[in-house]
């Protein structure tokens, strides 16, 4: 097996909450929003990993941290076995989550480092909202050529035009010349997302981080964009971290699934296996509410009660237990360990070991 393209080890991202002056004077410890609370996963070359979870579970924070838009509080992001630049500054700031839930300091491991600039040539991000992620006053040509300009590649004008043209055509905007001088507001949502994808692919990256790339689009266009991503992966061998809240799109094209709940991964495994045989009660609830195009089919739906707990003040033990339909008293006390269902399929739930599931 080749080395994974991306490896995330114990990633933490805590956002400090601004304290009031009185709290500061009382020396009350700072509170943190624990957006990502100890997440590890790997991504093989050419693989599509879907990170699934409801809003506020930390999916987008993972994406932003991977691409360096946020600095992780602790943990390593290894890209081709090299750590990514942001952690250098973090070591100086010395913020590391402690067992008690607060934040302290720790010595940093020394690992080979990769500069942010090099990472961003090889990893690109696709944002959720194609109406917001394009500069309204730039032409499509400028937008797609921007990564080349920023990285000082293809300085020759003809070469640049040629690369923009290939990228646009690969993204399904043909003939590319028709789009060069248009502005984003002249395009539809689907076309805009194609422009975003073209501009991400113009550097021919090895890793794409797609943050809910289809959730803002009409249902009729979603399949087209997903097909486009799948084609790119087949043609270019690009690996994709696909972040979504919609399990039905996951079944469509992911190889592996990581289900997230409140900043942690609760179940991970091959897409088919997880969908066919979900082990964690949260995964089951998510799968049970995927719409099925057969109105006669009756299924038992698990509708979760209550709301996601506050990520500042997480529940003790298993963080899903206040909403879990099968929780026992023990679930409120102990953090569930990983339980292997098969060599590749794992879930973190106490009730699996007890054989109730």
């Amino acid at each position: 097996m080749t080395a994974p393209i991306l490896e995330v080890r114990n990633l933490y991202k805590y956002f400090p909450i601004r304290q009031s002056l009185t709290d500061l004077l009382r020396r009350k410890p700072a509170d943190y929003v624990k957006a990502v609370d100890g997440v590890s996963f790997t991504l093989e070359r050419g693989e599509v990993l879907a990170v699934v979870g409801e809003s506020g579970c930390g999916k987008t924070t993972i994406a932003r941290t991977l691409i360096g838009l946020e600095e992780q509080t602790d943990g390593e992001i290894l890209f081709h076995n090299e750590t990514v630049g942001a952690h250098e500054r973090r070591a100086r700031a010395g913020l590391v989550p402690l067992e008690s839930g607060g934040v302290g300091t720790r010595e940093q491991q020394v690992l080979p480092r990769m500069s942010m600039k090099r990472l961003r040539q090889q990893a690109q991000m696709i944002f959720q909202d194609p109406y917001e992620s394009l500069n309204p006053r730039a032409t499509i040509l400028e937008i797609v050529a921007e990564p080349l300009v920023v990285h000082g590649l293809a300085r020759n004008r003809d070469e640049r035009l040629a690369r923009v043209k290939t990228a646009l055509e690969e993204a399904g905007l043909r003939p590319a010349e028709d789009y060069f001088l248009r502005y984003p507001h002249e395009l539809s949502g689907g076309q805009r997302q194609r422009v975003v994808i073209a501009s991400a692919m113009v550097l021919q990256p090895e890793l794409l981080i797609a943050d809910e790339p289809v959730s803002m689009l009409d249902v009729s266009i979603r399949a087209e964009i997903l097909n486009l991503l799948r084609d790119l992966r087949q043609k270019r061998g690009v690996s994709i971290v696909f972040i979504t809240h919609d399990l039905s799109t996951v079944a469509y094209f992911a190889d592996r699934i990581a289900v997230m709940y409140l900043g942690r991964i609760v179940e991970t495994g091959p897409a088919r296996e997880v969908l066919a045989n979900p082990q964690h009660p949260y995964t089951r609830a998510l799968i049970s509410v995927i719409p099925v195009p057969n109105p006669r089919q009756r299924r038992e739906r698990v509708i979760l009660q209550g709301e996601t707990p506050n990520p500042i003040d997480l529940p003790s033990g298993c963080r899903f237990h206040p909403r879990c339909p099968i929780a026992t008293a023990e679930c409120g006390k102990n953090d569930p360990p990983w339980h292997a269902i098969s060599p590749t399929h794992q879930a973190a739930c106490l009730r699996i070991e007890q054989g109730t599931s």
């Binding site: 838009l69 040539q121 500069n135 990285h151 501009s199």
Partner: protein, 332 residues
């Protein structure tokens, strides 16, 4: 760059299409353009020079001659032709106003962009400087500054002093305006996308922030110009202009000093006053219309515009009224 030129022409013609329909904007542009033309072609608009003294047949200087005696605007207390003073004064007034306005705009934009984009300590420092300038009353400060700089005998032309003092004091509102706009723009996703691509601060400011606030800067420049011209007139009226290069404000100062009002010489003080109104009104009208047109929030959506407009059903007003529940009425 061929395609850039084509793009520029397209944008310009789009702009003109909307601008043409705006009467107030056209009026403002007319007022501003005529005054600039008058200032540019001043020597061709009058047979005299500003220092010429008009004399009657007997060789006596004509003082306070009414327009009936000496066309078109009579003479002042020293026998100078008022019309000549007026057209040459346009040069001084507009030059001081424009240069001060551009300095103010430049400083204000720079402060606003840096403070808004970098935030934190930079923002604090720059905005506190702005606040300090904002709370000091402008007029006394300017009077003191201009007077002290003059006293120092630095061999700077009095007009340069005026330009510098006005330009370096009137950027505060611009800085605040630009800063607030930059604050919202830098949080938008296309800026995050540019950062994710690997763009540096310079690139983001030039390619992503500046194009969004450029319309605001343009519209605000025109508005600041009118303020600068007004302030210049005010200072000149108070005697801080350059007597050897009279602006409209200086003319008013002379008229006031030499009791034009008690002599009934309305042709001496009305024309410069009206000229000031002419230019500032033009700038304000033009500036407001530009601001309205170029505001990033009001730019065209892809469904707007004549070609792309979705055709309406012929009897839409009748039908939709029945279909859409009017709030409050539907409940009854």
């Amino acid at each position: 760059m061929n395609e850039n030129w084509a793009l520029f022409k397209r944008n310009l013609s789009d702009f003109w299409k909307t601008f043409r329909k705006n009467r107030l904007g056209l009026l403002g542009a007319f007022l501003v353009v005529t005054s600039i033309l008058v200032a540019t072609f001043a020597p061709w608009l009058t047979p005299y020079s500003p220092s010429d003294i008009i004399r009657d047949e007997g060789g006596h200087g004509l003082t306070f001659a009414s327009p009936a005696v000496h066309a078109p605007l009579g003479t002042d207390d020293a026998g100078h032709d008022v019309w000549t003073q007026l057209v040459f004064g346009a040069r001084i007034s507009l030059m001081v106003g424009f240069m001060a306005g551009f300095i103010a705009m430049f400083v204000g934009s720079l402060f606003g962009i840096l403070a808004g984009y970098f935030g934190g300590a930079v923002d604090n420092l720059l905005m506190r400087i702005t606040d300090i300038l904002l709370v000091i009353p402008d007029l006394p400060l300017m009077l003191i500054l201009v007077a002290t700089i003059r006293q120092m005998d630095l061999k700077i032309s009095p007009l340069t002093v005026l330009i510098a003092v006005i330009g370096l004091l009137y950027w505060t509102s611009t800085a605040r305006l630009i800063r607030s706009q930059v604050l919202t723009i830098k949080e938008r996703q296309f800026v995050a996308r540019a950062r994710a691509i690997g763009a540096g601060h310079g690139h983001i400011i030039r390619k992503h922030i500046l194009p969004q606030i450029m319309p605001l800067i343009v519209a605000n420049t025109v508005l600041i110009l009118s303020t600068a011209i007004l302030v210049e007139s005010g200072l000149a009226f108070l005697g801080l202009g350059d007597p050897t290069q009279p602006s409209w404000g200086t003319m008013l100062n002379f008229a006031f000093d030499r009791s034009a009002v008690t002599n009934g010489a309305w042709w001496f003080y009305l024309p410069p006053g009206l000229a000031i109104v002419w230019v500032t009104l033009g700038c304000v009208l033009l500036g407001n219309v530009l601001e309205e047109m170029l505001n990033p929030r009001l730019t065209a959506h892809h469904l707007e515009g004549d070609q792309n407009m979705v055709p309406r059903a012929p009897s839409s007003s009748e039908e939709t009224r029945g279909m859409i529940a009017v709030p409050g009425k539907g409940a009854e």
